[in-house]
Every structure is written in C-alpha cells, then in structure tokens.
C-alpha cells in the first residue's frame, strides 16, 4: 500500500515528440485512480513510466516516498496487468503466477499459500494446470490479475485490461475489479479510454488530452463541474451540447451565434464581448410546455433506447447541432420543432480562447 507522487513529469521522444507535458498528480494510499483520455493522450505513457518500462525525461516520481526515477521495474514493488494479458504461453496458470514469486526467492510453501489464496479469490482453482491457450478471454484476464495479486505489490497498474473483452464480460469484470480493490485496499492506477469504466471504477479520475492533465477529480466532480471544454465534451454520453456565443453587455446573458439569447442565473466572470462556449447536457434540457422556450430544436433523428429517448437535431432551422435526452419512451416526430427549456443551474461556460471554465451559475 503506498502513495504515488508525480511531479512535473515529462516524456519527450527523440525527434521532439512530446508524449507527456508537465503532469502533476498525487495518488493517495489505497486510492483507485483512473487515467482516461482519447488514444494518444499520454495516459499509457504515464502508466508505463510509473512501471519503469518507459524512462522519465524530466520530473520526479515517488512510490511510497521513495524516488524511483532510475529504478528497475522489478524493484519498484509494483504489478501490472496488460491489455493483451501478456501471459507466458508456455507456462501453466500456476507457473504463470509463480514466476514472479520464484524470482523474488520466496520459500515454496509461501508461494503455494499465496497461489491457493489468489486462485480462490479469482475462482481459478480448476484451471491452475491449464495453459493460457486453453482459457477464455475472461479467464485469461483473471490469471493476469492473479499474477499481480500474488505479488502483493504496493501499487497495481492496469493498462486497459478490459478492452479485449466483450461488453457483457466487461461489465462483470468491472464489478469484480471494484470488489477486489475494496478487499485489497491497495493503490490502483488504471488506464482506459472508456469513460463508463472511468466513471464507475474510479475514486478520482485524471482526464488527459494531448499529453496534459485537463482535470483531476471525483467522477461526479468532472461530470458536474468540468474544468475545461475538453472535459465537458469528453465525459458524458451523449456528449454535452456546446454552442458558441458572446457574453452580453450585462454579463448575465449569452448571445448564441445561432440566434437565441440564454439568460444566466448569475453574472459570468468575463468581460462583455468575450467569445464563449456555452454547454448544457442533453439531460438538462426539457420540453417546455408553458411556452417560455429558451431554445427551439428541429428534430432530425430519434433514438429509442428503452430506458431513455435521445433526440438529435439543430437549433432553430439549421444552426448548431443539439441533442436532448428524456426519460422513458417518448414520441418525437422527425422534422418537427420542439421548444426546450434549460434546467436552471446546469449551464457551463468555457472561454473559447483558452477552453477554461468560466465561473457562473
């Protein structure tokens, strides 16, 4: 069990390709941290630097208070679960799990105890003598986790461990993983590009884009108060409606490029005339039956998902794209106009220039 402290971490590949820029993070003892972002955002690079598989260009990395910049992967007291499982194909499940312990020089009886315990936890007892090729994807993933658990490391690292599995198995293993974290109370660092995994697993999420950290916060934090336009757009499905506009003279309204003016509940901390992106989540729009509409949606396409209905369309006649999410099955006709009201207190404003959040209601 340990803390991981990342200070001003940078990764520059030869030819000046920057993979990671000035990343700072403090991962607490026993915390489940998920690094999330689009592919190529540097999240895996950070994980690999924590593991010691990738060298650190500049910056410092501490595991349990010890600076590990130049330390070999095997001496960092970490375990890693790979996307392709990376099981040793010529060894049985048991030998796969033993390998690290033997290298550590642990006595035989202790190795046997640890493997028995891990096998019980992961329901692998019946498969110990099989070769990886005779296991299903889910079982292989469990073996990969078993190999990490028996090591009893300070930090567990996961590199997109569920992305090779089908959707149903993924959901199942997700809850197993969460339960495992509770039981072990160890520090988990988990990389994924799947925001559902990030939201459901994490104590805190680190959202990355183009090698930089966009926001660090709890799942609800990043959902309710996205720090940047990128986070607002990245988290949430269907993603947040983002509309360009300009702050009005009184700083309490935004005039959208597509026409309508949206009233804010408080003044925005930006000069009048500032270009802004106004964000509203599809679920925070509702059909206005009183007539006082903030926006008008021309319906283009309706998705009936059973639990909810998602309506895609445009603002007004043919301006910016807009989507609406309502509960249950509701009937919308294509090519009709629907007046919408914005739920108060759910507007997000971002500076168009910097992409940073502007404080307001």
């Amino acid at each position: 069990m340990a803390e991981v402290e990342i200070k001003l971490l940078n990764k520059v590949y030869s030819g000046n390709t920057r993979a990671v820029t000035d990343v700072n993070a403090h991962i607490r003892d026993g915390e489940f941290i998920v690094l999330v972002g689009p592919s190529g955002c540097g999240k895996s690079t950070i994980l690999r630097m924590i593991a010691g598989l990738e060298s650190i260009s500049t910056g410092e990395l501490f595991i349990d208070g010890r600076k590990v910049n130049g330390v070999e992967p095997g001496k960092r007291d970490i375990a890693m679960v790979f996307q392709n499982y990376a099981l040793y194909p010529h060894m049985s499940v048991r030998r796969n799990m033993e390998y690290g312990l033997k290298n550590e020089g642990l006595p035989r009886d202790q190795i046997a105890t640890r493997i028995a315990e891990a096998a019980r936890t992961l329901q692998l007892e019946d498969y110990l003598d099989r070769k990886p090729r005779n296991l299903s994807g889910g079982q292989r993933q469990r073996v990969a986790m078993g190999r990490a658990i028996v090591r009893d490391p300070k930090v567990f690292l996961f590199d997109e461990p569920l992305s090779n599995l089908d959707a149903k198995l993924r959901t199942q293993l997700r809850s197993e993983l969460k339960a495992l974290h509770r039981r072990l109370a160890a520090t988990f660092v988990y990389v994924t590009h799947d925001q559902v995994e990030a939201m459901s697993l994490a104590d805190r999420i680190i959202i990355m884009n183009a090698g930089r950290v966009e926001q660090i916060g709890t799942p609800l934090d990043v959902y309710e108060r996205p720090a940047t336009r990128f986070v607002a757009d990245f988290i949430g499905n269907p993603s947040m409606n983002l509309m360009t506009g300009i702050v009005a003279e009184d700083r309490a309204r935004v005039v959208l490029t597509s026409g309508p003016t949206i009233a804010l509940s408080t003044e925005v901390e930006a000069a009048p005339g500032t270009s802004v992106d106004l964000g509203i989540r599809p679920e925070h729009l509702r059909v206005s039956d009183t007539g006082g509409a903030d926006l008008t949606l021309s319906v283009h396409m309706v998705e009936h998902l059973g639990a909810d209905t998602i309506v895609h369309g445009h603002i007004g006649q043919d301006a910016g794209a807009l989507s609406l999410r309502v509960d249950g099955v509701q009937d919308f006709r294509e090519h009709t106009q629907v007046p919408l009201a914005i739920a108060p207190g759910h507007l997000h404003l971002f500076d168009t220039q910097t992409g940073q959040r502007l404080n307001c209601a």
């Binding site: 593991a51 598989l53 095997g74 996307q83 990376a86 099981l87 010529h90 390998y99 090591r151």
Partner: protein
C-alpha cells in the same frame, strides 16, 4: 466462409498442374529411379556392360571402413555446422532485435553471406585460411598456432565447418529475428516487472518461445550440412586430406566421377535419399506439432 473454386471441366486442373508434375517427374523421379536401378548393377568404367549384382554394392559399402568413417565425418560436420550457425545466428538476432537505429542496414549486412554461392564461400575461407598466403592463418601463426589444413585433417574439417556455418548464419538469423519480433513486447515487460533480469528473461521466456523456430532451423541446417555443402567442399579441400573432410555427398561424387564406380555411387545416393526421406518425415511429424505451445 472460404470460397472454393470448382472447375467445370475435368482436364483443366490436370493441365494446370502438368508443368509442375513434369518438372518433378523429369528432374526428381527419373534420376531417383536411375540411381535406384544402377545401385543393383556393377558397371565397367566406360559404360559398355553391366552385371546384375543385387545388394552387393550396399553390402560392400557397409564393409568399407572409409564409408563408415564418412558417416561419422558427416555426423560431426552436420551437427557442428548446425550448432555453430544456430548459436551465432541467435546471438546476432538478439543483438539486432535490440538495435533501433540503422536496424535495416544492420540486417541487410547480416543477410549478405546468404547471397554468396557455396563454392565462392568456400573459396573465400580457403584464401583466408591458406597456410602460405591467408591472413587468418598468418594471424594464427603470430599467435603461435601452426595452421595447415593441407596436412592436418582436423584443421581441414574445422575450416569447412566454419565456412559452411558462416554461410548458413544469415538464413538462421532471419528466422530467429522474425521469431524474436513475434514475441509480444509486453510479455518481456511483464517478466521484467516480475523481477526477472535480462538473462533470466531470455532463458525462461524468449528461448522457450523460440523452440519451434529453433527446431525447424535445426532440421533445415542438418539437411543443408548433409546434402548442400558439396560444392563448398569440392572447391576447398576436395575431401582431403586423407578423406578427413569427405562427407557422404562428396563421397558419392568421388566414387562415381573420380573412381568411376557407378554402382557403388548409386547405392550411396540411395542411402542419402533414404536419409532425406526420414528427415522430412521427422520434420513434418514433430515440427508441426511443436509449433503451437
């Protein structure tokens, strides 16, 4: 779903196969049959007459101490060539697999020897090792070692082994490199995290995963050393001194074209043929199974 092409007429597929069948029949089956046939006869040196002798040619071969010695020489030669070329190729492949810069240039250079004809490869080594003008022989002399493969049979054998292995290193290197590159990097990374040092990683992960490649190459190398090194030996030692480098293929030539004992030469060919058949069988039987670990 795999789509199968179905020929409407019966003769077209046979017509399409005909060239290959013709080549096989004319250049493989016919000579093989001729060898088999002549191995049962004793023929005079000028080909005017021949007498049916049954298995006498074979019987004489196995009574001939020289032939038995050739068997042993071939075995020593083949195993040494295979061992030497495989181990050198593996070391080079592991090194090449680590090099990131100029990897292609490095690889190309290593593959070059394979393009050299066996006879030329032999001549190159022959010049290098020549006791009166060879540079390597000169160095050896400076180090106080007297090299003369014209006189010393062991040295002659060593020379042809090195020359034959040198030529085969490139081929093995290519296969080993491909084998190494097909091992997922994450597997070795997992081993590194599992506290295995570089040597342990190699012997417990990389090497076992290369076994199918190694086994395949072992068979290929033995076949090469046993049957394809004739021109190399012919161009350098001509089997000498005192038969010390006379491997079985070379003996076939020597008995037939120098000694003009066609019957015995044919019998030796048939024995070699049986060896090839056995090795091919062995390879198909075991390599196929070993490929999937």
């Amino acid at each position: 779903m795999q789509k199968r092409v179905i020929f409407r007429s019966a003769w077209l597929p046979y017509l399409l196969l005909l060239p290959q069948i013709a080549v096989t029949l004319i250049f493989f089956f016919w000579p093989a049959y001729q060898a088999l046939e002549s191995s049962f006869f004793i023929e005079d040196a000028f080909g005017f007459s021949r007498d049916w002798v049954g298995l006498q040619n074979y019987a004489e071969l196995f009574r001939d101490e020289g032939y038995i010695r050739s068997f042993r020489t071939t075995l020593v030669f083949g195993l040494s060539v295979a061992a030497l070329s495989l181990s050198v190729a593996l070391v080079l492949a592991v090194a090449a697999n680590r090099v990131l810069h100029a990897a292609t240039a490095y690889r190309t250079l290593l593959i070059w020897p394979y393009a050299v004809a066996p006879a030329l490869a032999g001549v190159i080594w022959y010049f290098l090792m020549n006791p009166s003008l060879g540079i390597v022989a000169y160095w050896l002399k400076l180090m106080g070692y007297d090299w003369n493969h014209y006189v010393n049979g062991d040295q002659a054998l060593l020379m042809v082994i090195v020359a034959a292995a040198w030529k085969q290193v490139s081929y093995n290197f290519l296969f080993f490199l491909a084998g190494l590159q097909s091992i997922p990097k994450s597997m070795l990374e997992a081993a590194a995290i599992d506290r295995a040092g570089p040597m342990r990683r190699f012997w417990s992960i990389t090497f076992p995963l290369l076994t199918p490649t190694t086994f395949f190459l072992l068979v290929v190398n033995l076949v090469y050393a046993f049957f394809e090194t004739f021109s190399l030996i012919h161009a350098t030692t001509e089997g000498g001194p005192y038969d010390s480098t006379s491997i079985l293929v070379f003996r076939v030539y020597n008995t037939g074209f120098v000694g003009q004992d066609y019957g015995s030469s044919a019998a030796q060919s048939v024995i070699l043929m049986i060896m090839v058949v056995l090795m091919t069988f062995f390879q198909f039987r075991f390599v196929e199974r070993k490929v999937n670990y």
